[in-house]
Amino acid sequence: MMSTPGETGTESWPLWEVFVRANRGLSHVHVGSLHAPDSDMAVRNARDLYTRRNEGVSIWVVPADAITTSDPDAKGAYFESPAGKNYRHAVYYTKSEGVKHL
């Protein structure tokens, strides 16, 4: 299990990852990280740091050490499976070309 890169557990103000929703209808997207003593201050610092120019309508902050990532050393193998399963994609089905509403 790995947290996000950068979190060491040694800093007095821990690292937080920041996600911002730019507008209604969009997902929260990772924009960067910051340091804060706790979650209340983290969300405020995120507002001050990452939305100075109207970049967001909603913010998530997550302690970096609370994020579990896939094993980085196995990244090739871990994401091998989808390759070759072309039948998951619509473009795989060519015989129906020209037929409307399909």
Partner: protein
């Protein structure tokens, strides 16, 4: 049987191959990828120096926030210096993904073990310096930074994209300060020309030593961190300045400066690298002052940072006790 030592050799070989492949394809290296130790070290050094430059770079301008000559200029300057704090934070975060903490980087800075851009060791005695910094220093910085948006290390490139977007106003506001001054009174025009005289050469030095004396450049270019050579960027910058200086009505303080039709480049006087090296060695106008001020802010804030840490600890303990 393979011993652990053998295994790591195998891993390193595989890692190096993948790394080389990604670089060759001009793709991006991400934090948990295998990377050569020298690549990691180079990046930590470069990104943290860049971050320190943003943070130290706040000082020569914050010097004028309280005295800005109009409320509009005060607001612009405040927003700009504040942006610089933000840019320092983005960059420290990017460096942190390489295995160094911000606390360690800050300690390196205030203990005088880290470098930052020498340009910020010059002083800002007049208001026109706010214009010259924006036009010349930020202008040079933007020339350097735009190619860095494509740096091979993902987090660095992403930080630079954000920074470049936000900085687009920094150079313009500097230009406008100078333009107002040049269209103003005799005293204002003198102030503007004097500032341009003082900042022109140091801003050209921001691109670093000439290509034939820049030992690390070749490796950084091979790693797709650096995209253009120091001299290429310097030429590009001067090429932009010349017509802008005409609009402003200021004189660039280099009598030898002229466009050479044959080479397609600007001829210019020799840069005084002795001065550059003196400032780099800590003998510039304000090296000691800049570090002292940063150290003071850090030390004066220690009790506040500890208080917030302690409060968070107590709150967490309280929450845990309530659950138990």
């Amino acid at each position: 049987m393979t011993s652990p030592a053998d295994l790591s050799v195998v891993e390193n070989e595989a890692g190096q191959a993948l790394f080389d492949d990604l670089i060759a394809k001009d793709s991006r290296i991400e934090p948990r990828d295998w990377m050569p130790e020298a690549y990691r070290k180079t990046l930590i050094r470069q990104i943290s120096q860049h971050a320190h430059s943003e943070i130290i770079g706040m000082q020569p301008e914050s010097n004028w926030i309280t005295r800005a000559p109009s409320l509009k200029r005060k607001a612009i300057l405040m927003a700009k210096v504040q942006d610089e704090a933000g840019h320092g934070l983005y960059l420290y975060s990017a460096a942190q993904t390489l295995g160094i903490t911000r606390e360690e980087m800050m300690d390196q800075l205030i203990e005088g073990r880290a470098r930052y851009s020498s340009i910020f060791n010059y002083t800002t005695p007049t208001w026109a310096d706010m214009g010259a910094i924006g036009w010349l220093v930020d202008g040079a910085a933007i020339c350097n930074q735009v190619p860095l948006c494509r740096a091979s290390y993902g987090p660095y490139g992403r930080a630079m994209v954000r920074i470049c977007k936000e900085e687009s106003f920094h150079q313009r506001q500097g230009f406008e300060i100078l333009l107002e001054l040049m269209q103003g009174t005799e005293a204002q025009r003198e102030m503007a020309q004097d500032a341009v005289n003082r900042w022109y050469w140091p801003s050209l030095m921001m691109f670093g030593p000439p290509d034939d004396q820049s030992p690390n450049s070749a490796q950084s270019m091979a790693w797709n961190i650096k995209r253009f050579s120091n001299d290429e960027l310097r030429q590009r910058f001067v090429g932009m300045l010349v017509p802008q200086a005409e609009v402003l009505g200021v004189t660039l303080p280099d009598p030898a400066l002229r466009f050479n039709e044959e080479t397609g480049e600007y001829d210019m006087s020799e840069i005084d690298w002795t001065e550059f090296n003196e400032v780099l060695a800590g003998r510039g106008p304000a090296n000691a002052e800049r570090l002292r001020r940063r150290r003071e802010a850090h030390e004066n804030g220690a009790w506040v940072r500890e208080a917030a840490h302690e409060y968070a600890r107590k709150q967490a303990a309280r929450a845990a006790a309530e659950v138990a």
